[in-house]
């Protein structure tokens, strides 16, 4: 199976079924995510898109009644065969609400690298600066690195969280509705960041905002009630979807 992987496939999901207790959250999911693409995942609430995302970095395993069947391969390697701390380092995640830890801006970003054993203050400083620059936050934050991250505005906090994720040098970044709590200007900045990150990272973006998927996604997947209805190039999904359900959803006829 592993040999059939093309070089460009970053993540391959094969016949994935996910349960919480008796409730099936995702069924028979097959899809591939390519290097350096932004894959948008859209769908109404309870369509299983966040559950899918949290399966990729094995965060669902924190729920005691979570069950998984099928397999997810990261560059041909079954994610269950990789140490969980390594998986989560390689697949960074940005959550729906900005979640800075109640630490300074510096310590928030240095948190991940420190957990992975980097102690040298100079190295940490470089990582912090680089991460903040990529996340478009350096200019606003460089003079207040020792202030509490909780003093930043919501949009700044979310960019801080992106910087914090970047600091551990992941290969893939999982965005879980990253702009759901942000105003349009902050949203635009986060989207700009994502487009820039695409050059170096693979991005999976779960979003409730159909227009956001249209703006930044290279390809778009439409989930409904735990099933993948359609996955195609974003312009195709938004101009000529193959499925009636997809069209109904993006036209706002339900969900």
């Amino acid at each position: 199976m592993v040999e059939t992987f093309s070089d460009k496939v970053k993540i391959s999901v094969q016949d994935l079924h996910l349960w919480f207790g008796d409730i099936c959250a995702v069924k028979s999911l097959n899809l591939e995510i390519f290097e350096h693409e932004i894959l948008s995942v859209i769908g109404p609430a309870n369509s299983g898109k966040t559950t899918f995302l949290r399966t990729l970095n094995r965060l669902n395993e924190l729920s005691p009644n979570f069950k998984m069947e099928g397999a997810v391969y990261l560059k041909g390697e079954d994610i269950r065969q990789i140490r969980v701390t390594e998986i989560r380092k390689r697949l960074g995640m940005v959550f729906a609400l900005p979640m800075p830890l109640p630490l300074s801006i510096f310590d928030n970003i240095a948190y991940g690298p420190r957990m992975h054993g980097i102690k040298d203050r100079k190295v940490l400083s470089e990582i912090v600066e680089r991460s903040l620059q990529v996340a478009f936050l350096w200019d606003e934050a460089k003079d207040r690195l020792n202030e509490s991250a909780l003093k930043l505005s919501g949009g700044q906090q979310q960019r801080l969280c992106i910087a914090r994720t970047l600091a551990v040098e992941p290969e893939v970044i999982l965005f879980d509705e990253p702009c759901s709590g942000l105003d349009p200007i902050s949203t635009a900045k986060v989207e700009e960041t994502m487009l820039k990150l695409k050059q170096d990272y693979t991005i999976v973006l779960v979003t409730n905002n159909v227009k956001q998927a249209a703006r930044v996604g290279d390809r778009t997947a439409f989930f409904l009630m735990g099933e993948l209805i359609e996955l195609d190039r974003t312009d195709k999904i938004f101009t000529a979807p193959a499925q009636k359900k997809t069209e109904d959803y993006i036209m706002g006829r339900f969900g």
Partner: protein, 281 residues
């Protein structure tokens, strides 16, 4: 109009019920202070008892209580925090966990004199620690354990779950997550709970009665295997066993004990207040 009157009556009753809580505290303080403050002097606090404890001071009792509180803290705080950490962060909801929870609740309900007897048979007799500071501190520690565990567990659980998720999502291990993203933010709550429970322990008489407390000692304890005097027991002794003792000696002793307990409580309140000011999540 009628319902408005009813409301007024209801409010008044509720208000009076609340005020009633303050009254006993105030009365106790006023009474002890009125009858005891005249005994308080540097000599009273810092010198040994003399003339069948009718004169001199209560220094050895203060020292003994101090040792007991320190000893009980050293044992019960780490043990309690570790147990709480396990229960809050590691354990799953199994029969064993439920049994442990039940044990903790019941342990908190055991009368203190039973702890005293338990300490006597286990530490004094079985482990042959004798009637000593060690036995007394261990007995107080066990009595405190359920309270510290409950308070610590609550402190752990009041740390938002998202902190753990963020830390884990950055590739931190479970232990790193607990160590750096949970424990630091639970610590003020843990300390507050611990200090409050230890303040209570400082005033307990029954657990130390058979395990450490001495009626009278001519000198200070030299090791943890020595007996010691302690404030609550000393108060009991001079109030019931020594005839013709001055009234202000008794109330003075009570005042010192109450002040120690109060200052510990106030310290706990200050920690909590400082923490609330910083806490923004």
């Amino acid at each position: 109009m009628k319902s408005l009157a009813k409301q007024k009556i209801a409010f008044t009753i509720l208000f009076l019920a609340t005020i009633l809580v303050i009254v006993p505290v105030g009365l106790i303080l006023i009474l002890i202070f009125r009858d005891g403050s005249s005994a308080i002097s540097w000599r009273f606090i810092s010198s040994m008892p003399a003339n069948g404890m009718r004169e001199g001071g209560i220094f050895p009792a203060i020292v003994g209580t101090f040792y007991l509180v320190i000893g009980a803290t050293l044992v019960s705080l780490p043990l309690g925090v570790m147990a709480a950490m396990y229960l809050s962060e590691y354990s799953k909801d199994t029969l064993l966990t439920r049994t442990i929870n039940l044990a903790i609740v019941n342990l908190a309900g055991v009368p203190s004199v039973v702890y005293g007897l338990f300490g006597l048979s286990l530490f004094v007799t079985y482990f042959k620690f004798g009637v000593s500071i060690l036995s007394g501190a261990l007995t107080l520690a066990i009595m405190n354990l359920p309270v510290i565990i409950s308070a610590s567990r609550e402190a752990f659980q009041s740390v938002p779950y998202s902190f753990r998720e963020v830390s884990l999502s950055l590739g931190a291990s479970k232990w790193q997550t607990i160590r750096y993203s949970v424990l630091p933010f639970a610590l003020p709550g843990i300390l507050t709970g611990a200090i409050l429970s230890l303040a209570r322990a400082a005033g307990e008489t029954a657990p130390i009665l058979f395990t450490v407390a001495a009626f009278y000692l001519p000198s200070l304890p030299r090791s943890i295997f020595d007996q010691a005097m302690a404030l609550p027991y000393h108060l009991y002794v001079i109030s019931t066993q020594i005839p013709n003792i001055r009234l202000d000696f008794r109330y003075g002793t009570a005042l010192v004990l109450v002040m120690i307990v109060f200052s510990m409580n106030i310290f706990a309140v200050i920690i909590r207040f400082q923490f609330r000011k910083k806490k923004k999540w």
